[in-house]
Symmetry: C2
Subunit: 482 residues, 2 copies
């Protein structure tokens, strides 16, 4: 009977090959990560999903602080007039804003927007905080919720409200701001690759894809298992655009007044969507050990009560050894048959399962099951703890290498528009582009592929634009995207 | 010249005796904790203030999780109709709500309120999550921003937007819910006393002061240095009120359908206001070591360049030793005279200052200055690190004991209304109260003192209500409050 239940549950996840979108939502539901809120477009992040976010936050927060940035908190509400001060910015964000018109039982004199991002409210304040070059650089980050009205929401990927960090800095020179922009892109790349095990391509966005109000947007782009791209983090060189709009000035060492150079950068709960789509399989979620809320689950197996006492004692011994190594471990000793317990933790993506039964104890070896490959092996009890540690590293690396190999085998350098069209059906196309927004727009219209980033390396010799044949010295990554 | 600057800055803090309210705002400004936002009633929490909040969060989050509660995240927006489902709740909160009427460029069919608290949105969801007794207890917490329109905002104490944690639980029995309510009150008391060094009185709120929709509200109340009370945390026994409004039902072990018993509880950035008013003095902020972002500041002092090299090297040696002990330490080696540097860290409430000059190195002893008492002593270099550790404990305890002594000397058991009136001019009055809301209301009207909590211990023998002389078996803490 238990097996039947399990079979039904297994049917709960649509295979990727049948319907990738449905598979994505099934994985989220079966792993108990999140669900749609009663409020359109909003999301409830359930405890297991939130624990993943806490791990991402904790890794990210540490790295941000190591670059000298301090956390602070700015208000949720922004006077509507602020948003209009930077022309491109308001054009980009006004259509997505939620507007508070009434409060405290009265109609407000000036409506507030709920922050879609905090450049305007922060820089209005920065203009008061910054007076002299001694006040620079100003390096601020905040962890916050933001709201951007979504017509076609998708859990984690596009939600009306999402959680993120947004960093905002002000500098005395253009060089310093540019360096900070790239530095934070590097931090994001490290987060994606070392913690989430997701290889990313970093580069510059085209004019049409850049942040509203920025001079230049850098991004990291990841490939999902359906070959589509997902923008996993952005870092914006704002130049003096906002400084001029908000009067962020300083007196330099020579007594001259100058506008500050600014940057902003952010990653969001969208990363959890990337995590799911990069690694998971038809059995459910697969989590990299460096970010998994539970790295190891111990499943004691017994028939008689006497056995139960014995395997529970051994499980607790093992648990203690693993905790002493700093690992996150859980014993699942529920009165259920092993099958349903195995499947549950598989669906939740726990990297390693250790099975402890009376016969295993007799034999002096436990069964280790890897979530990433499904492989099982017997590991002698006295080596089990140390082996767990090294196996977690192996799994972490394997997930990264597997994703990298997948991306490489689904990325093609293309010379013609036909080749591009073919490549972007299931992956990335790297192609020359003349830089004309019309070519970019036409390719998007005809193929639904956008320029994800321009590669930072200039081409060795000029070449031809993949669409118009015009002169091109830059290569772009084209892909359909989330 | 430097000294003149310092004097001016020192004038920046109004003495408590002259104007307590102004002193409070001066301390916040001079310690660089927070400022009013351009949006009425909102607050910008500056890096140093936010670092205190991060320490409070981290201590609190750990304690909450240790009781078996998981973090999650629910939406910012609540459909207006939800709020109306629990009659007392809507009456209490509707007047304070900010309302989103437009989004994505259109008028919304149903307006949303920005959460003033999340009972309604969470319990609507709980009603789907909970089906059987096996799903109970459900133990959820979230760290979030909430909005309650404030007409007379005050930094940290009353702001339109504030940060907090809100815990929400559902249980199978009344007993279990009651136990959880008290357990969390105990956690809050521990946070206040062991981390913030603020002694608190715990008890039950009167009907008129309880949470809108609760059966019973428990609270911890702290005394500020002006003798006023500050509610520092609340824990609500919700009974089945919300369960009935939101249909939170479960099938019990006998197959019968029952409404769940619920609790909610929260503490907020208001605690930083309590921290300031409990310990700080006319020189500025005073922080308990257990919550201070910087526990020790090392100020190297030099005249010649040769000395500078020497004292910096010694300072770094000291810093390393303290960091190895797990302490949070900062060296202030700015090219400023010692005075301004001393004053700055005094204003910021750093518990210990260690002065390291060439003569100190020669003598083999550093000058230790305590922020709480202002005392200075010479400590031999080889004992300096260990002494720092124990001095931090001494300071933590001293702040608690000092606050406790202050509270005790400003709390009077009163037998008559005249005595009550006198006592509440500068402290707490403990008095018998018959339980009639009319007596409570009249005392509030005439003296501005409210019942902060009813003491949990029943009186040994019945006595007379301090106002009407009617029979009373309970004692209440009366005080003016923030």
């Amino acid at each position: 009977m238990d097996n039947q239940k399990v079979d039904k549950k297994e049917l709960g996840i649509t295979p990727r090959s049948a319907d990738y979108s449905k598979w994505y939502l099934d994985v989220i539901r079966e792993a108990d990560l999140a669900e749609h809120a009663p409020v359109k477009g909003c999301m409830i992040i359930k405890p297991y999903g939130y624990a993943i976010w806490e791990n991402i936050q904790s890794a990210m927060d540490k790295m941000i602080k190591e670059t000298g940035v301090s956390n602070a908190y700015f208000p949720l509400f922004i006077p509507q007039s602020y948003l209009t001060k930077e022309a491109e910015h308001v054009e980009g964000f006004a259509p997505e804003c939620a507007v508070v018109t009434h409060a405290g039982g009265k109609k407000l004199e000036e409506p507030f927007v709920v922050r879609p991002t905090s450049e305007t409210i922060m820089y209005e304040v920065f203009s008061r905080w910054i007076q002299s070059y001694r006040d620079l650089p100003l390096l601020i980050n905040q962890w916050a919720n933001v709201v951007r009205w979504e017509l076609r929401p998708r859990l984690f990927l596009r939600t009306t409200e999402f959680l993120w960090q947004e960093g905002h800095t002000a500098h005395a020179t253009e060089d310093e701001a540019e360096t900070r922009t790239k530095q934070m892109l590097g931090v994001y790349k490290k987060l994606a690759e070392d913690f989430l095990a997701i290889p990313v391509i970093d580069g510059v966005k085209s004019e049409s894809e850049k942040f509203a109000g920025a001079v230049r947007t850098y991004a990291i782009e990841a490939m999902m298992q359906d070959g589509k791209a997902l923008q996993a983090g952005t870092s914006h060189m704002l130049g003096q655009n906002f400084a001029k709009a908000f009067n962020v000035k300083f007196v330099d060492e020579n007594g001259a007044e100058q506008y500050a150079w600014q940057t902003s950068w952010g990653v969001s709960t969208r990363l959890i969507g990337a995590l799911i789509m990069a690694h998971s399989d038809d059995k459910g979620l697969v989590l990299p050990p460096n970010i998994a809320p539970i790295q190891v689950v111990i499943v004691p197996v017994w028939v008689t009560n006497e056995d139960k006492m014995k395997v529970l004692a051994e499980s607790e011994k093992m648990e203690k050894q693993l905790k002493d190594l700093g690992l996150s471990v859980k014993i699942d000793s529920r009165d259920l048959r092993p099958g349903p317990r195995f499947f549950e933790w598989e669906k939740k993506g726990v990297p390693i399962r250790i099975e402890i039964g009376p016969k295993d104890i007799e034999k002096g070896a436990y069964v280790f099951a890897r979530r990433d490959t499904g492989e099982k092996e017997n590991i002698s009890i006295d080596q089990a703890a140390n082996y767990t540690s090294s196996l977690l590293n192996i799994i972490q690396n394997n997930l990264f290498e597997r994703s990298l190999a997948f991306r490489n085998s689904h990325t093609r350098e293309v010379g013609s528009y036909d080749e591009l069209k073919e490549a972007i059906t299931g992956g990335f196309a790297i192609a020359h582009w003349c830089g004309d927004a019309k070519c970019e727009e036409k390719i998007k219209e005809e193929t639904k592929a956008t320029i994800r980033v321009l590669l930072p390396e200039k081409a060795l010799k000029p070449n031809k634009c993949v669409l118009c044949g015009g002169k091109s010295d830059q290569r772009a990554v084209f892909a359909k995207n989330y």
